[in-house]
């Protein structure tokens, strides 16, 4: 039997991680599988990827994918800052950050919004189950008003919508998806990897142990019945000429990505324009009012400069500079002292 290889001739096993220790059926495991597939199919060399996470069941998952990539399971809510530092050290790596809704929308809110504000070049995935899985299922700040988890009172506080927040902050790539929508999620994560700048993907990812009852808006059952897809996304890699791909029967829109790949959005219902921030916010608002989940590429803007560009960092990643390039010469010190003495 021949083993299937990707474009850089690696088997998928090179992208796999250790066996998961999450609860069987946890949405997070589905997302890990998608990350493995996306990285493998995109043909990114595993050593060029860095996996980053905070703390939570979701943040444990980097152990379960991309075993040949370095990773850092950091502190609760602090994945963005560690990623920022690492990205300044080596701006050529593909940073895949994984976080939870507790990790991002509560303790890590400050770092989340500032990573967006700086347009850090990374993929930022929130595995959003509406609860703190690892600490036994307390409500998180993204849980919808009226949603109720097993053996608990209904939540009456307003939710924080991370996509709306990201759009308001001018985030260059904002998407929402569902761990059970494998095709859509794969296309979006691949596109996020091809994007330059911060790509936020808020993925509804049910916690089967603490919050998978029908009254909980982030249970499998509820999401399946109440998902509105903006479009059906298809990822066309840079090595496949777009012309050679079959033209869809209906309406569609192509989005060109930084590395030459294309995200093709086939229209499902109404025409949706992901470059229109107001339309994106309206769609999110409508879904909230209707107690629905709107998924797809909500917002996209390729024009923004990333943090490393903004800082005009040396073309060579800082980590690859020699000691001589990092330390001014003896003459420079002598000149400086002469100036002080004058």
């Amino acid at each position: 039997m021949t083993i299937k290889l990707n474009i850089i001739e690696l088997p998928k096993s090179d992208y796999q991680g250790k066996p998961s220790s999450l609860c069987p059926g946890c949405g997070h495991d589905q997302i890990s599988t998608v990350i493995i597939n996306a990285a493998w199919e995109n043909g990114i060399p595993p050593e060029r990827i860095a996996k980053m996470s905070g703390i939570g069941c979701s943040s444990k998952t980097p152990a379960y994918f991309l075993g040949k990539s370095h990773g850092f399971n950091t502190l609760h809510g602090r994945m963005p800052s560690v990623t920022t530092g690492a990205c300044m050290a080596n701006k050529e790596l593909c940073f895949i950050g994984v976080s939870g809704d507790g990790d991002t929308a509560s303790i890590g809110m400050g770092q989340f919004v500032h990573a967006i504000r700086r347009n850090l070049n990374m993929v930022y995935i929130i595995e959003n189950n509406g609860v703190y899985g690892l600490t036994k299922g307390q409500y998180s700040a993204t849980v919808e008003k009226g949603s109720r988890k097993r053996k608990a009172e209904e939540n009456r506080q307003n939710p924080i919508d991370l996509c709306a927040m990201a759009i308001n902050l001018g985030c260059s790539f904002v998407a929402r998806s569902f761990s059970g929508s494998k095709k859509q999620l794969t296309a979006l994560i691949k596109a996020a990897m091809s994007h330059r700048g911060i790509a936020v993907i808020d993925v509804i990812s049910p916690c089967v142990t603490f919050a998978n009852n029908e009254e909980f808006f982030r249970s499998y059952g509820y999401v399946k019945d109440n998902e509105t897809e903006l479009h059906s996304p298809d990822y066309i890699p840079h090595h496949t000429p777009v012309e050679e791909v079959d033209i869809p029967a209906g309406e569609y829109q192509d989005i060109e990505l930084f590395d030459g790949a294309t995200l093709r959005l086939e229209t499902v219902g109404n025409e949706y324009d992901p470059s229109d921030a107001m339309a994106a916010l309206a769609a999110i608002h409508k879904a909230e009012v209707d107690k629905m989940h709107v998924t797809g590429l909500l917002y996209f803007d390729a024009e923004q400069r990333t943090l490393d560009e903004e800082l005009t960092l040396s073309d060579t990643p800082l980590v690859d500079l020699s000691d001589d390039e990092l330390r001014p010469s003896e003459q420079a010190l002598a000149d400086l002292l002469a100036e002080f003495r004058s």
């Binding site: 860095a50 040949k68 602090r78 800052s81 560690v82 530092g85 980590v319």
Partner: protein, 594 residues
């Protein structure tokens, strides 16, 4: 009347934000250029404009740099403190005051020099009168003390950085102030400044600027910081110097600077950058260290190089944010969760600020852990005489494996395996593809794989302790100045260096000869223990309430040595005055010898 040459203290009372800082620095620079040993200390409020500020200039042929016991010359500019400032003065003090301020000076035991500073300043430029009146007092002082006119003018030009209009205006104010004293007043005090031989290599610099430069020459690749007095100027000086010193052939930067959203993020960026293989640091003060502590614990346990400069101020929250203290020593030494212990470098001079700034990166990468630089507001934000900086030694990048061949040379590689027996394991960097692991704060085995196994956890913690223990005698050794008598030894550290000689001389006047041991790093070098061993009684002198270094010594010294060690710890926010500490030392010694 006998003249008093180069041995007095000037106190200048002004309001914050009126431009008095420029005037004071001109005064300091002039005397420095005249070769006179002089030091200036800014006692400023936590406020941008309007609150009282005092600038203390110590002129001392003996080289004393602490604020003296008393004021010999008082400059009065500030209405708000006028009465109190006057009240405190000892008989015979010279008072140069702005006679346009409609407040009484009702003491006939002082030597009074009224100068109509506002009137003079208004005559030059009514709009800028408040600023210019400060230069008028510099002129008046210059005449009273006999400062060199050419050096004064050069210092003024330097201060106003070539801005011709400002230079002309202020020069005129200076001369008018000088003229007024010469023409209208009868100068009858004993204080004079006399020129001394000027060391051509010396210049004045703030400790924080020296730290910034040391970091730049240390190969810093990332600075992340959140503004806080008195640490901000480390970052600001770095930002100022980077464009000249750290751009590549394409004019692009080889150091990233990020103003973080808070100290949590600042520390996270340092840890991320250190993990990914560059030299990274942040600078902050006590409140920032509190917020950084979780990351510092992570750096210790996941073994990621990180450098943090704590420029101490009085805490908590804002505390006395513009006042000095050595209050964070235990905070930094043990920052983090569970069992931790960090390397702390403690400069006592501006030369050491530079040196320890580059060395901090070497230690951080060698030991794969957090290294603190421990400064304070006094050393960091005041100008000190500097003889120059030595070019750093070749960089020590520590045990980083950068190629497959190098990896293969290591028997049984594991990220946390102690193959060399020094507690320091080898590491590989992201992007290298060499033996990747998922770094984490969670328990891990020698291969970096998640583990909660009790033996593995305990063994790992023992290795970490061994690793830091191994650093002890590799760190800067204490500076010892010993007396033959070996009776009383004083252990001190950091900016106390600038007061110790005066304390020593005061004690010597009473017949007491003391040895000195200036600690320059934690964990304590074995020479410190030997110093304690050699002396009959040891005093640990520090600028805080609880005697934090004393506490560390009690913990780390062999138990039989502990009884001879005593604490003299005091802090009121003001830079240490020699007599205050000398008297406390004598009290403790009296108690001991009872």
């Amino acid at each position: 009347m006998e003249r008093i040459v180069n041995d007095f203290t000037i106190n200048i009372a002004t309001a914050n934000g009126t431009g008095s800082q420029s005037a004071n620095l001109i005064l300091l620079q002039t005397m420095f250029e005249m070769g006179v040993p002089v030091s200036g200390k800014n006692l400023f409020p936590s406020n941008i404009s309007g609150l009282p500020t005092w600038y203390i200039v110590r002129v001392s042929d003996a080289g004393y740099q602490a604020p003296g016991d008393r004021t010999h010359i008082q400059v009065l500019m500030n209405k708000a403190t006028w009465e109190k400032d006057l009240e405190k003065l000892e008989q015979g003090t010279v008072v140069i005051y702005n006679s346009d301020v409609k407040l009484p000076v009702e003491r006939d035991d002082l030597i009074l020099y009224p100068v109509p500073m506002t009137k003079i300043a208004r005559g030059l430029n009514p709009k800028l009168a408040r600023m210019i009146s400060n230069i008028v007092y510099v002129g008046a002082l210059a005449e009273v003390l006999g400062l060199d006119e050419a050096k004064l003018e050069a210092a003024l030009a330097k201060q106003f950085g070539g801005k011709q209009k400002a230079i002309e205006l202020n020069l005129e104010a200076l001369q008018l102030g000088r003229q007024f004293v010469a023409d209208e007043l009868e100068v009858s005090d004993p204080y004079v400044v006399e020129e001394r031989e000027r060391d051509p290599d010396a210049f004045l610099i703030e400790g924080n600027e020296a730290v910034a430069l040391g970091s730049i020459f240390g190969g810093i690749g990332l600075l992340s910081w959140y503004p806080i007095t008195p640490a901000s100027s480390v970052a600001e000086e770095l930002i100022d110097h980077l464009p000249k010193l750290r751009v590549d052939a394409d004019g692009k930067s080889t150091c990233a600077v990020i103003q973080a959203e808070d100290e949590l993020a600042a520390a996270g960026m340092v840890v991320g950058a250190g993990w990914a293989g560059i030299r990274a640091m942040s600078c902050t003060s006590g409140p920032g260290i509190s917020l950084m502590s979780e990351f510092i614990g992570l750096s210790y346990f996941a073994e990621v190089p990180a450098v943090f400069w704590d420029i101490n101020r009085v805490g908590p929250s804002t505390g006395l944010p513009t006042r000095t203290q050595q209050g964070d020593l235990t905070l930094v030494y043990y920052a983090g969760q569970g069992d931790t212990q960090h390397i702390v470098l403690i400069p006592g001079t501006v030369e050491e600020c530079f040196e320890y700034a580059w060395r901090a990166f070497d230690y951080a990468e060698r030991y794969q852990t957090t290294v603190f630089g421990f400064g304070d507001l006094d050393l960091g934000m005041n100008r000190w005489v500097c003889k120059g900086f030595d070019y750093p030694d070749a960089m020590d990048r520590g045990k980083v494996i950068r190629s497959q061949e190098a990896l293969e040379e290591i028997p049984e590689y594991g990220r946390y395996r102690d193959v060399d027996g020094d507690g320091i394991a080898y590491r590989t960097l992201p992007g290298s593809g060499l033996e990747p692991i998922l770094s984490r704060g969670t328990g891990h085995d020698e291969d970096g794989v998640y583990s909660e196994n009790p033996e593995i956890y305990a063994a790992n913690m023992q290795r970490l302790a061994r690793k830091i223990e191994g650093a002890r005698n590799q760190l800067p050794a204490p500076v010892l100045r010993e007396e033959e008598e070996l009776e009383v030894g004083i252990i001190f550290y950091g900016s106390m260096e600038n007061t110790i000689q005066e304390i020593d001389d005061i004690l010597e006047e009473t017949g007491l000869k003391v040895s000195q041991c200036r600690v320059r790093a934690l964990p304590l070098h074995s020479h410190v223990e030997e110093f304690v061993n050699r002396h009959e009684t040891v005093i640990v002198l520090e600028i805080n309430r609880d005697g934090q270094m004393y506490g560390i010594l009690r913990t780390e010294l062999p138990i039989e040595l502990v009884p001879k060690v005593h604490s003299v710890a005091f802090s009121d926010g003001i830079p240490p005055r020699a007599r205050v500490y000398a008297e406390r030392i004598m009290e403790v010694l009296e108690e001991v010898h009872k």
